[in-house]
């Protein structure tokens, strides 16, 4: 991979981290409040179903995770397994696409 592409990945990792910092803080606060008194599907879906705000929030969250996680995995694969090059890039891209697809399905399930 070219130096320019590596730089873009580095920037994407940091930019997605900044977005995730906000998303994770909101998600942690929501989870801590939601589990009080037990968590039920009715309670959870009552908060999210039909909510454009929650759909948009989790959409940004899932997109940022789908960028952040595979770039992190690529670094770990390179440094700890010595797995580099095109095969590692393809594998990490597949992980990113899978996270995006599963995340989009989950958002659809809880907000539609």
């Amino acid at each position: 991979m070219s130096a320019r592409a590596e730089t873009r990945l580095w920037l994407a990792q940091r930019a997605s981290a900044a977005v995730l910092a906000l998303c994770v803080a909101v998600h942690l606060a929501t989870m801590i409040a939601a589990v009080r008194g037990g968590l039920t599907a009715a309670e959870m879906l009552g908060r999210t179903r039909g909510s454009i705000a929650w759909a948009a929030f989790y959409g940004v969250f899932v997109l940022a995770v789908s960028i952040h996680a595979p770039i992190g995995l690529r670094t770990v694969a390179s440094e700890w397994l010595g797995w580099r090059g095109r095969s590692a890039d393809v594998a990490c891209t597949i992980v990113g696409v899978a996270l995006l697809a599963l995340g989009a399905r989950a958002i659809l399930a809880v907000t539609r």
């Binding site: 940091r14 981290a17 900044a18 995730l20 910092a21 994770v24 803080a25 998600h27 942690l28 989870m31 801590i32 409040a33 589990v35 009080r36 037990g38 968590l39 039920t40 599907a41 009715a42 959870m44 879906l45 995770v65 996680a69 992190g72 995995l73 770990v76 992980v95 899978a98 996270l99 599963l102 995340g103 399905r105 989950a106 659809l108 399930a109 809880v110």
Partner: protein, 117 residues
């Protein structure tokens, strides 16, 4: 491996690096499971409730508390890394930043556990 490389592994920042990396790996492994459980709602509220009842098992609840700690630790550790990369490495502040990151993560996990149990 050189002697200095081994010596650096005793530094508290190396511990923070390992926790950040392992928490990132654990969260990436957990995410597909989390998404699949939430996806149960596509089959209706009752289907999601079946999965949520399963999460009331003590072992699953313990895992959830551990995951909240890992998520909070990855957040606070990541904020420290962004600070180091975009503001600068201040050696004297590292131990305080790492201790704060760990403290905030432990606090989040504790509050979650108190609400959950």
């Amino acid at each position: 491996m050189s002697a200095s490389a081994w010596r650096n592994r005793g530094h508290v920042a190396y511990g923070a690096f390992i926790i950040h990396r392992l928490s990132g790996l654990a969260l990436t492994l957990f995410l597909p499971v989390h998404f699949l459980v939430l996806g149960q709602a596509l089959s209706g509220e009752a289907a999601l409730d079946v999965s949520l009842r399963w999460t009331q098992a003590p072992l699953v609840q313990t895992s959830e508390i551990a995951l909240v700690f890992l998520l909070a630790a990855h957040l606070t550790g990541g904020l420290r890394l962004l600070f180091v990369e975009f503001v600068g490495w201040r050696s004297e502040a590292q131990k305080m930043l790492i201790a704060s990151a760990g403290g905030v993560a432990a606090f989040c996990a504790l509050v979650f556990a108190l609400n959950l149990l």
